[in-house]
């Protein structure tokens, strides 16, 4: 047979591509459940990092440490529960949907150690970036953070996820009020004292994108954080502000 004829070449390439596509489609379908389980575990481990909970078995640790996982709307009212037994969490795709959604359902993870974790999700330089922020009992002060990204530049933007000192800089910072909830910039360019951290040198766009993302999501959660922050939970014995908290509904004349 003449393997150089046009007909042969065309038929050969069509058959080859169909076979390869079938093999890949089959493999993707077959491996999908395992991959999804891994992604979920990874998400939970990031949430646990933000809640400063450690453990070997991620799912069991999560079930042990979580007190409640709820969905709230933009006004801060609870709309639904997430199944704790099933370790139900909102993955990056779910978070992405909430940004444009009119009726938002924003996940809040409340842990037994008094830390409340909220997520964020936005566009970085090359792909999506996301993160989890753990708040102390006052729902203002950041206890720990954990950021992730799809494909930021290794050694520059990727530092948001793998540079420990960047995450450590968030500890003790507070979410601000008004227009600027959180800033990521160099100190000279920051307008607030305690509501921001330094940006990463050489990763300006990723830093700015993360700042924008945090602002957007802290905005989504603003009502929830304000409503629930003043109510002190028994678990936060380390928090010294309990006795000083004024009733939230003082009206200025």
């Amino acid at each position: 047979m003449n393997t150089n004829s046009n007909t042969y070449t065309v038929i050969y390439s069509i058959v080859l591509v169909v076979i390869v596509a079938a093999v890949l489609a089959f493999a993707a379908m077959f491996l999908k459940p395992t991959q999804d389980a891994n992604v979920k575990k990874d998400t939970i481990s990031q949430i646990l990092t933000a809640a400063t909970v450690e453990g070997e078995d991620i799912l069991a640790t999560y079930q042990d440490a979580i007190e409640a996982a709820i969905l709230v709307d933009i006004d801060g009212n609870k709309v639904d529960d997430l199944d704790i037994q099933d370790c139900e969490v909102y993955g990056t795709a779910d978070l992405k949907r909430q940004i444009a959604a009119e009726q938002k359902a924003l996940p809040v993870y409340i842990f037994k150690n008094g830390i409340t974790v909220v997520p964020c999700y936005g566009a970085g330089l090359w792909g999506p970036i996301w993160g989890y922020v753990g708040f102390e009992g006052d729902l203002k002060t950041i206890k720990a953070v954990c950021f992730g990204h799809k494909g930021e530049t290794p050694g520059l933007g990727a530092k948001i996820a793998d540079e420990p000192s960047f995450a450590e800089a968030f500890v003790g910072k507070q979410v601000g009020t008004g227009d600027i909830l959180f800033e990521i910039a160099k100190p000279a360019n920051r307008q607030t004292e305690n509501n921001g951290v330094d940006a990463i040198s050489g990763a300006t766009i990723t830093s700015q994108a993360l700042g924008k993302t945090l602002n957007q999501w802290f905005g989504f959660y603003q009502n929830y954080l304000a409503k629930n922050g003043a109510v002190c939970k028994q678990a936060c014995e380390h928090c010294t502000e309990c006795s000083e908290v004024e009733p939230a509904n003082t009206v200025e004349e």
């Binding site: 393997t3 050969y12 080859l16 591509v17 390869v20 093999v23 890949l24 493999a27 491996l31 991959q35």
Partner: protein
């Protein structure tokens, strides 16, 4: 059979794809910070080179000459995606560290080079051995480089602490340069140097 053995063993030392043919340098610089990553990357390349050489060799008499590079590319791409998917399912943390580099195996000159130079002109079994041998040669260099980089850069091997705390207390410090890609190039240079001083026929006059 002696010939097949030679086909398998030659690329491991005498005709090593990295240190002699200087192919696949980019990925060997990128994934050798940790032994674990280098090990998995090496294993992935062994599988990709071996199986795609085998498939291309089986198809070699049917492939239309004008689109042979495209056919090779499709076969290699399929293998790379399969390996990537399997890693994502069964070795998620490693797959996260290696990120894009698994996908970039497709651009590794060793794979296409061996198919074009060997598999298209030889029997399937010999091609499989040639592919495995080249993958193994690549993996070996990766592991050697990663061994020095992880030991001197992080004081660990496969993530286990090797250099005892007492040494750090005396003022020893991990070499930060070892973590960065330039040091991989320098170690690779040393490997090539050692090999050329053993194997005199590689030295240029």
């Amino acid at each position: 059979m002696g010939n097949i053995k030679e086909t398998f063993l030659n690329p491991i030392f005498k005709g090593n794809p990295i240190s002699v043919l200087v192919l696949g340098i980019c990925s060997s610089l990128a994934v050798t910070v940790q032994l674990k990553g280098a090990f998995v990357m090496g294993l992935s390349v062994i599988i990709v080179t071996g199986v795609s050489s085998l498939i291309c060799s089986l198809l070699r008499n049917t492939i239309p000459n004008r689109i042979r590079i495209i056919v090779q590319l499709v076969v290699v791409a399929m293998m790379v995606i399969l390996v990537d998917q399997v890693l994502k399912a069964y070795a998620y943390s490693v797959s996260k560290t290696l990120s894009v580099y698994i996908g970039l195996i497709i651009t590794n000159c060793i794979v296409m080079g061996r198919i074009e130079a060997f598999a298209l002109g030889n029997k399937p079994f010999a091609s499989l051995m040639d592919g495995l041998g080249n993958g193994l040669g690549y993996a070996m260099i990766l592991v050697i480089v990663a061994f020095f980089r992880e030991l001197l850069g992080s004081g660990t091997l496969f993530g286990f602490q090797i250099i005892p705390q007492a040494v750090y207390d005396f003022g020893y410090m991990n070499n930060g340069l070892m973590i960065l890609p330039p040091m991989a190039l320098i170690i690779l240079g040393c490997v090539i140097w050692v090999q050329r001083s053993i194997q005199k026929d590689l030295q240029e006059k």
